[in-house]
């Protein structure tokens, strides 16, 4: 046997093995180059703060005199230029705990729920920033929704006879009549020009120029019927009425005609608000992506209204679009992803604090979050 040839054969095999190994390494590098920079994103994480307003807070509302209000079993307030939340604010005479709020002018409205023995609800109002409270009567049944729309307050209540809607008339609630009474629940109310729009979970959207009487539901989109849309939120964007639902569709009404439907591919939680950023406003939309990813998406508005021709793109916070220059709500996409991708957002409220836009996000069971100083975190 030729020892020299055996050694040469072994060296050849080693060289081939090394070359194959280097090739495998090169393939791994090539494949890796198109993936998520996970360790980089972790390096951008911020330590969660302890939420001052814990649990599942209501939507934050703002009175015209610059006071923010939120309820989560207790009532708290904060000046728009303040540095901290104050409370709990007591509602003298209330038998339950505050669970929801609405604002109209300089007045705040608080819905209190007494769930200790029987489920009972009361509606209270204060026009002196919580100093004194007056009870608003007139609703029959259990109040489960309060929304301010333009110049009035709409209230939804579950009564024995069915679901009822009331409007505020002075300091009492008067029943709103419908051609065909909607089923529960009232999920939003807006005023567009001189018209009121009321949205219900499965009954659709109703429109009227008077708050006392509504006809039948507006015509739904040809793509999806009202009882399949499962509406969760309603908002006025410029002159467009926009509704979102858990059916993964967004419905847009321009000039009072039929609703156009836009497939969004993710469940929309109903959290909606417009973030004003000067030249480019953004519509913020809470999402639920198969319970794997939560958080929100952005839509770049066109002159304050929805983009024309359904040219709507739900982009991730931090994304600057294909041009690389589009407005976005956050400075760091990585910080947003680490902080908010597991957070279920139920409501948005945006406002300006000392000239800087602030985003407040009411969440499911994780308290009130905020975007301040270029960072998403629990509101302290």
């Amino acid at each position: 046997m030729n020892v020299i040839s055996i050694g040469a054969e072994k060296r050849t095999k080693v060289h081939i093995s090394v070359k194959l190994g280097i090739l495998a390494v090169a393939v791994l590098i090539f494949v890796a180059c198109n993936q998520n920079p996970i360790m980089y994103e972790i390096s951008k994480e911020t330590k969660p703060k302890v939420a001052t307003i814990a649990g599942t807070p209501s939507k934050v509302v703002k009175t015209d005199n610059g006071v923010l209000w939120v309820a989560n079993g207790s009532l708290k307030k904060r000046s728009v230029d303040g540095t901290a939340w104050n409370g709990p604010i007591a509602i003298s005479g209330a038998s339950g705990v505050p669970r929801n709020v609405a604002a109209l002018g300089n007045s705040v409205y608080a819905l209190t729920i007494n769930d200790s023995t029987t489920l009972a609800s009361e509606l209270w109002t204060s026009s002196d920033a919580g100093g004194t409270w007056a009870k608003i009567t007139g609703a029959d049944g259990f109040i489960d929704a309060i929304f301010a729309a333009g110049d009035t307050l709409f209230v939804g209540a579950r009564a024995t006879a069915g679901y009822a809607v009331y409007y505020l008339d002075g300091n009492t609630l008067q029943p709103t009549t419908f051609t065909a009474a909607p089923a529960q629940s009232l999920i939003g109310a807006v005023m567009n020009g001189s018209d009121y729009y009321l949205a219900f979970t499965v009954s659709g959207i109703f429109k009227s120029s008077v708050k006392t009487t509504f006809g039948a539901a507006m015509t739904a989109s040809s793509v999806i019927a009202w009882d399949k849309a499962y509406l969760s939120g309603l908002i006025l964007v410029g002159s467009d009425v926009v509704a979102v639902g858990r059916s993964k569709f967004m419905l847009i009404n321009r000039s009072g005609g039929d609703f156009e439907a836009k497939d969004c591919s993710v469940t929309l939680t109903g959290a909606l608000d417009v973030l004003e950023m000067g030249a480019d406003d953004l519509l913020l939309i809470g999402i639920d992506s198969s319970s794997v990813e939560y958080g929100y998406r952005e839509i770049l508005l066109s002159d304050g209204s929805m983009p024309a021709n359904l040219n709507i793109i739900l982009k991730s916070p931090g994304s600057k679009g294909t041009s690389g220059t589009e407005a976005t709500s956050v400075v760091s996409a990585d910080q947003y992803r680490g902080a908010m991708s597991k957070i279920q957002i139920t409501a948005f409220t945006t406002y300006t604090e000392n000239g800087t836009p602030v985003i407040l996000a009411s969440t499911y069971k994780t308290g009130l979050y905020s975007y301040r100083k270029d960072e998403w975190n629990a509101e302290e």
């Binding site: 280097i22 590098i29 980089y40 330590k47 992803r337």
Partner: protein, 222 residues
């Protein structure tokens, strides 16, 4: 030098280290067959004294196999970012486990494979998961009933964080000490250093993660 070329060189260095260890050969214990001169009794009976001198018989021979299972904590050491600086460590210590198979080519050299898993929490209250797998080359020294394997693993890993994933190159040198309990089992400790490079389309987000694991292990010999 382009970034891609420098990455290739880095990875090539890692692989060549492993290849070099895999091609190292150990000489078999010399058996010169020398004896003390006895060649048997005059009547042809076997000599009383052993004809073998020199080294003791090896604990391992070619064809021996080991199956190892290990579990223990893992510690994030440091993360180097794309400009060579240290990124803030935002990963907490976690846990890791692994399974390994080795086949001895010589009494000291074994080749095989390993698969593992790790989990760690992050400062943002998220979870980081990694699953490395690859080929291993082991050089083992034996003294009495203590065994000291030195291994090098090269392969790949998958990583999961929130809804994101990564797949890339992985390398892990290890050193261990085991006590041979009986012919079938040995128990001991192993320390390893995880080299976890992460290269993406945006080179400014490249990171080089470094972790240390200390595991208690049980090895089955067969």
């Amino acid at each position: 030098m382009s970034i891609r070329v420098s990455r290739l060189k880095f990875a090539a260095v890692l692989f060549c280290l492993g290849a070099a260890l895999a091609t190292a050969q150990n000489d078999a214990p010399a058996t010169d067959g020398s004896n003390d001169g006895s060649s048997g009794n005059a009547d042809g009976a076997l000599p009383i004294e052993s004809e073998w001198t020199g080294s003791d018989p090896s604990a391992y021979t070619s064809g021996d196999q080991i199956f190892r299972i290990g579990i223990g904590p893992i510690f994030p050491l440091f993360f180097i970012n794309s400009d060579g600086g240290l990124a803030e460590n935002k990963v907490y210590p976690g846990g890791t486990g692994s399974l390994e198979y080795s086949y001895f080519l010589t009494p000291n050299l074994a080749l095989g494979g390993e698969i593992g898993i790790m989990f760690s929490g992050t400062i943002g209250q998220n979870m980081l998961f990694m699953m490395p797998f690859g080929f291993t080359a082991t050089w083992q020294l034996v003294t009495d009933r203590f065994e000291f394997p030195f291994s090098f693993m090269i392969g790949a890993y998958t990583q999961n964080y929130t809804t994101e994933n990564y797949f890339g190159l992985f390398a892990k040198p290890s050193a261990g000490v085991y006590w041979r309990y009986n012919p079938d089992w040995s128990f001991g400790l192993r320390a390893s250093w995880w080299a976890v490079p992460q290269w993406t389309a945006d080179s400014t987000k490249d990171m080089y993660g470094n972790f240390a694991e200390v595991t208690i292990s049980a090895r089955y010999h067969f």
